[in-house]
């Protein structure tokens, strides 16, 4: 029998750590992917994602179900990733190197969609352009692209209205488009 998120939250509030483990396994990849999109470093992202779950564990007794569990969890993770981003001191070139390292490690090189040289330049330019976005604009791009979340959920996670989400996405896309015009 599969429990809903809310059932698992209630079990966790009652002290069942196994219920929290189930929640972790449901959302670990999603949270990691969003954090990775913001931080662009695998180790840091893994660390921040685990820490986000730990913080959710500490605060779960106070979760009243006003929003869905996953938007609540995303909010914690996104805020932590944005804070971690401020502490990062790496430059965009290193980000590109890190992505290559991630792909090589995972034997993904041959499956790299950017196998064409020009496309590789597009990827490098895209990574640099994403990193140039402000934290708010980067967050909406990540949540929409990585998770395909509706604007309403993105707004709940970031604490803003749907209109603001739409406006930020439009601005972010325009900015990326402007920087990568030659490649698109």
């Amino acid at each position: 029998m599969e429990f809903s998120d809310w059932d698992l939250v209630q079990k966790c509030q009652a002290g069942e750590t196994s219920a929290f483990q189930e929640l972790v396994s449901r959302y670990q990849q999603k949270i990691f992917m969003v954090v990775l999109g913001l931080l662009r470093d695998r180790e840091d992202s893994m660390d921040v994602a685990q820490e986000a779950f730990f913080r959710a564990y500490r605060k779960i007794k106070g979760f009243k179900g006003g929003s869905s569990f996953y938007t609540w969890l995303y909010r914690i993770a996104v805020n932590m990733a944005i804070d971690a981003q401020r502490r990062q001191k790496r430059n965009p070139l290193e980000f590109r190197d890190n992505m290559d390292a991630v792909l090589e490690e995972q034997n993904e090189v041959e499956k790299d969609p950017f196998s064409n040289v020009r496309d590789k330049e597009l990827r490098a330019g895209l990574i640099a352009a994403i990193n140039d976005l402000t934290a708010e604009h980067k967050a909406v791009i990540i949540l929409r692209t990585v998770e395909g979340l509706p604007y309403k959920d993105i707004g709940e996670i970031l604490g803003c209205s749907e209109g603001t989400v739409m406006s930020r996405l439009h601005y972010a896309r325009k900015k990326l488009q402007g920087k990568l015009k030659a490649f698109l």
Binding site: F32, Q50, Y57, M99, F114, L169, H170, L184
Partner: protein, 182 residues
Amino acid sequence: MIKRCEDIRDRIGAWMDGELSRSGAEEVRVHLESCQACCEERRQLEKLQASLEAVLVAGPSNVSFERFWPGVEQRINRKRVWHEDFFGRVRDLLTPPQLAWLVPAVIILVLTGVFSFESFFPGSRLAVQRNNFAAVDSIDAFGRNVAVLRENETKTTIIWLYQNQEGEDESTGEKTDASPSF
């Protein structure tokens, strides 16, 4: 036409995301069927979206999560150093963005209240204690003994006029008890 195209282009992204109303989506779809420039904009956005997905999703999608839960469990079981716990709780208190404004707002209110209390309640005990010292610039007791007392704790100034020893006050018929002791 140009203004219409601008309006449509502002909404192509939301249309692609399926976030427009039915009538709005229909409006964009019909316009795209007949406008080359806006079609090109759509193509560019679609390519941008595909590139974003390739960078952000397809690349790292096979990362192993075998050690993820053990990492979380380790954090749960680890005894936090007292200051990590303290700062963690403080951060939790300040974290909800909707409430973050509340903490400095409360500080402002308290400080403003303290500084302006005597303006609203000039005779109040607080006002008396805070700013009450009076300075005596001149004094003429017409030959009587007089004392000026300034008490620090209550910030009180007392001007005390002693009875005339020659009995001048006795003529008023006033009987008096002992003088005060300060």
